[in-house]
Symmetry: C2
Subunit: 410 residues, 2 copies
C-alpha cells in the first residue's frame, strides 16, 4: 500500500499558516522580512521541533529542515515559500511549504527506509519584495556584497537593513550559493494560478517548463495638438497608434503558440490633458512563452507590429526591451516520477507549462527539478480570491510524498 500524508494534520497546518498575517479586509499580508513573515517562520520552526526535525538557516533566510542522522548521499529537496504578495492568498507558497513539511515528517515518523535524506525547504522572498526569487537565486547563483547592497524593497527600504535586524538568517548573505550536485533532486508542489486544470477537470498538472519572460516599454511619439482646432486628418495621435498596436497583440501571441501570452498592464500618455491630442503613449509590455525559440519569435512579432503600426500611422516608435528571463525546462525523469505517482494514486494528470515564475527555475540549475500543480478555483491567484479545495490539496500532497519517496529510494 502506498504511503499517504496525514490529511488532518496537513489541513490544520495550512489553516494555522493562513492565520499568520491575515488581513481584516480578507487575504493575507505576509511579505518577505515583515513581522508576519517572522511569525510564520517561528511557527514553522515550532512545527519542525514538534516533529523532531533539525532546521538550518542560510544568510538570506532560506530554511532547510530534515530528520537527524541523515544518510550520506545528496538529499532530495522539496519545498516552496512562506511569503506572500501584499494582498495575497492562502495557497501560493503556503501549500508547497506545509506539504513538504508533512512529507518529511511523515517519512520520519513512519521510518520508511531511504537511500537519501529528504529535506523540507522554505525559500526567502520568493515574491521578490527585495529581489526576484531572492532566496533560491541566492542558492543557485549567489549574490556579491555589491548586489546585496543594491537590493531595495517597494518603498526604497534596503535589504541590508531588513537583514540586520532579522533573526531568521545566519549573517552571511554572500555565502548562500550551493554547488550543483549537492542536491539530488528538487520537487515543488504549487497551485496552478491559472484555469487550465479546473477547466479540463484534471487532478494533477505535471509542469513541463517554467515560462520565459520578456518585457519592453514601447513608446509611440506623435505630436501634441489642440483637440478642438486640429482636424482628424492632420493629427499625429500617439495614443491611437498605441491602441492599434495593442489590439493586434492577441493575434501575434496566437500565431506563435498556445502558451504565448502578451499583456499591457500599464500605459502612460503625455501631455495628458483632456483637450490635447497625445504626443506620447508609452506601453509597458509583459510577454511570456515556455519555449525559448517561441519567446524569441514572440518578441520579434511584437516589435514587428510596433514598427508596422508606426509606419502606417506616421508616428515614430522606440522599442526599449528589458533583459529577458529564459524559459526553464524541467527534468523529464522527475516529471516521469510525478506522472507515475499520480497514476498509482488513481489521479488524472496532464503536462502543462507554468506561466508564472517559481523557485524551481533556480533550483533547476542545481538539480533535476519537477513541479506538481493542483487546480486553482477560477484560476485566481495573488488575490484573496485564491482558493483550492482541500481534496485537491491532499491529492497534490500525496503525489508529492510518493514522488520524493521514489526519488529518495532510487
Amino acid at each position: 500500500m502506498t504511503l499517504r500524508v496525514n490529511g488532518d494534520r496537513l489541513r490544520q497546518d495550512l489553516a494555522d499558516l493562513a492565520g499568520i498575517g491575515a488581513l481584516e479586509s480578507g487575504g493575507i499580508g505576509r511579505t518577505a522580512f515583515s513581522p508576519a513573515d517572522a511569525r510564520a517562520r517561528e511557527w514553522y520552526w515550532s512545527r519542525c521541533v514538534a516533529a523532531g526535525l533539525d532546521l538550518r538557516l542560510d544568510g538570506l533566510g532560506n530554511m532547510v529542515a530534515q530528520a537527524p542522522h541523515p544518510a550520506d548521499l545528496p538529499p532530495v529537496w522539496t519545498g516552496s515559500h512562506i511569503d506572500t504578495v501584499p494582498h495575497g492568498g492562502a495557497f501560493d507558497g503556503a501549500l508547497g511549504t506545509v506539504a513538504a513539511l508533512e512529507c518529511v515528517r511523515r517519512l520520519a515518523e513512519t521510518g520508511v527506509p531511504l537511500r537519501r535524506p529528504v529535506c523540507s525547504v522554505v525559500f526567502s522572498d520568493e515574491e521578490g519584495n527585495y529581489g526576484h526569487l531572492l532566496g533560491s537565486r541566492g542558492l543557485s547563483h549567489g549574490y556579491t556584497a555589491d548586489q546585496i547592497a543594491a537590493l531595495t524593497g517597494r518603498e526604497g527600504d534596503r535589504l541590508v537593513d531588513a537583514l540586520a535586524g532579522w533573526t531568521w538568517a545566519d549573517g552571511s548573505p554572500t555565502r548562500t550559493r550551493i554547488p550543483a550536485g549537492s542536491v539530488h533532486a528538487f520537487v515543488e508542489l504549487h497551485i496552478e494560478q491559472g484555469p487550465k486544470l479546473e477547466a479540463a477537470g484534471v487532478d494533477i498538472g505535471v509542469v513541463t517548463s517554467i515560462v520565459g519572460l520578456g518585457g519592453a516599454v514601447v513608446e509611440f511619439a506623435g505630436r501634441a495638438d489642440h483637440a478642438g482646432t486640429t482636424p482628424m486628418s492632420l493629427r499625429s495621435d500617439a495614443l491611437l497608434a498605441a491602441s492599434a498596436f495593442l489590439i493586434e497583440l492577441p493575434e501575434v501571441a496566437a500565431a506563435v503558440g498556445p502558451d504565448s501570452v502578451v499583456t499591457c498592464g500599464l500605459i502612460q500618455v503625455e501631455p495628458g490633458g483632456a483637450n490635447v491630442v497625445p504626443a506620447l503613449a508609452a506601453v509597458t509590455l509583459d510577454f511570456r512563452d515556455p519555449d525559448p525559440a517561441r519567446l524569441v519569435m514572440l518578441e520579434r512579432g511584437i516589435a514587428g507590429v510596433a514598427r508596422r503600426i508606426a509606419d502606417a500611422t506616421g508616428v515614430s516608435v522606440t522599442w526599449r526591451p528589458d533583459e529577458p528571463i529564459a524559459p526553464m525546462p524541467l527534468a523529464e525523469p522527475v516529471r516521469d516520477v510525478i506522472r507515475h505517482s499520480a497514476s498509482e494514486l488513481g489521479l488524472s494528470h496532464v503536462d502543462l507549462p507554468s506561466g508564472a515564475g517559481h523557485d524551481s527555475q533556480n533550483m533547476a540549475h542545481l538539480a533535476p527539478t519537477g513541479m506538481i500543480f493542483i487546480p486553482s478555483k477560477d484560476g485566481r491567484s495573488h488575490s484573496p480570491a485564491e482558493y483550492t479545495d482541500f481534496a485537491d490539496v491532499e491529492r497534490g500532497a500525496n503525489v508529492l510524498l510518493s514522488t520524493v519517496l521514489t526519488l529518495a529510494t532510487s
Copy 2:
C-alpha cells in the same frame, strides 16, 4: 480710401505685450490673476491713457476702453483676452486685444464720425484658470455668490482669494451681468489655432459658429488576472476593449461631418501593474462639432461604439457624460460685414467654424457677434510654437477696423 490701422504701432504693442510674462524656456506664462496678468493690465491701461481713452473695470476684472463723450446709442464692442495658458504663445488673445485697442485708438485719433461708440474690451480669465471663459460668462450670465465662492484654480486656490488682492476689479463679482441689447454688436479677431487657412492659402476666416463641446469618461471594466498564468482566450482585458474602442473614433467622426473631432487625451488603467491584466480602463473624451444636430449624432455614435465593443469583448462599459456646451452660431449680418470688409481690402476669405471656445460664444448671448480668423503657422497654438506673420496680423486688424467702422456707422 478705406481707413487703415497704424501697422508700426500695432506691431510694437504686440511685441511689448509678448514681453510681459515671457519665460526663459520660451513661450509666455501670463495666466489670469497672476503678477504677469497684472503687469499686462497696467501696460494696457497706460496705452489707453496715452490714447486718451477711458477705462472701466467690472467685478471680475473685465476692462472696457472707449473714447470720452461717446454717442448715445449702444456701443460696438471688440476685443479679446490678455491671459494665456501656462506655457502659451504670443498671439492667442493678445492679437485680438491689441488690434481692438488699435481700432478704437485709430477711430478716436482720426475723428471719423460714428453713430455709435466703439469700445475695446479685455475679458478676464478666458483660458479658464478659475472658470471656463470666466469674464465673458460674467457679462452674459453672471455668477451668484455661491458660484463665485466655489471657483478654484489649478492648484485648488480660490478665485475669491485672487480677487481679494486684485487691483484690476471693482469688488462686485456678482454684478457683472449686462443686459442683452446693451451692446450693439461684438467682433473678435483671433488666430485660427488650426491649419485650415494656411493650408488653403486664404487670408481671412469668417467664423460661422463656435464649436459645441461634449465630454465623457468611458470606463471599460474587465477582470484583473495574472499576466503569466491566464491564457489569452480566458481574459477580460479592459485596456484591449478601450483600444478597440479608440481606434474606431476617427471613423465615427468622419461619418458625422468634416468638422467633427474626437480626442482621447487621457487614459487611466487599474490596477496598473506591468504583470497584471487591466481590470479597468477609463478613457477621457473630448468631442466637438459646430452643428448642434451633428454634436448629438457624434455623441450617440461614440456611445454606440462603446456599447458594441463592450458586447463584443465581454467587458462592461459605463458612459459618464459631462454637461455639453452647445455650438454657438455667429450672426450672419456681422459675418456679412466681415466678408465685405475683407473683399474691399482685396483679401481672400473663407467661412469656417471655430474648433476652440472663445469669449465670442458668451457675447453672442448679448449681441450679434462675429469672429475674424487669421492663419496660424502649422496650426500650432497653446504652445510657444504659436506664430503668425505680421503681414497676416495687419490684414486681420484692417478687416477688424473696417468691420467695426461699418457696424458703428450703420
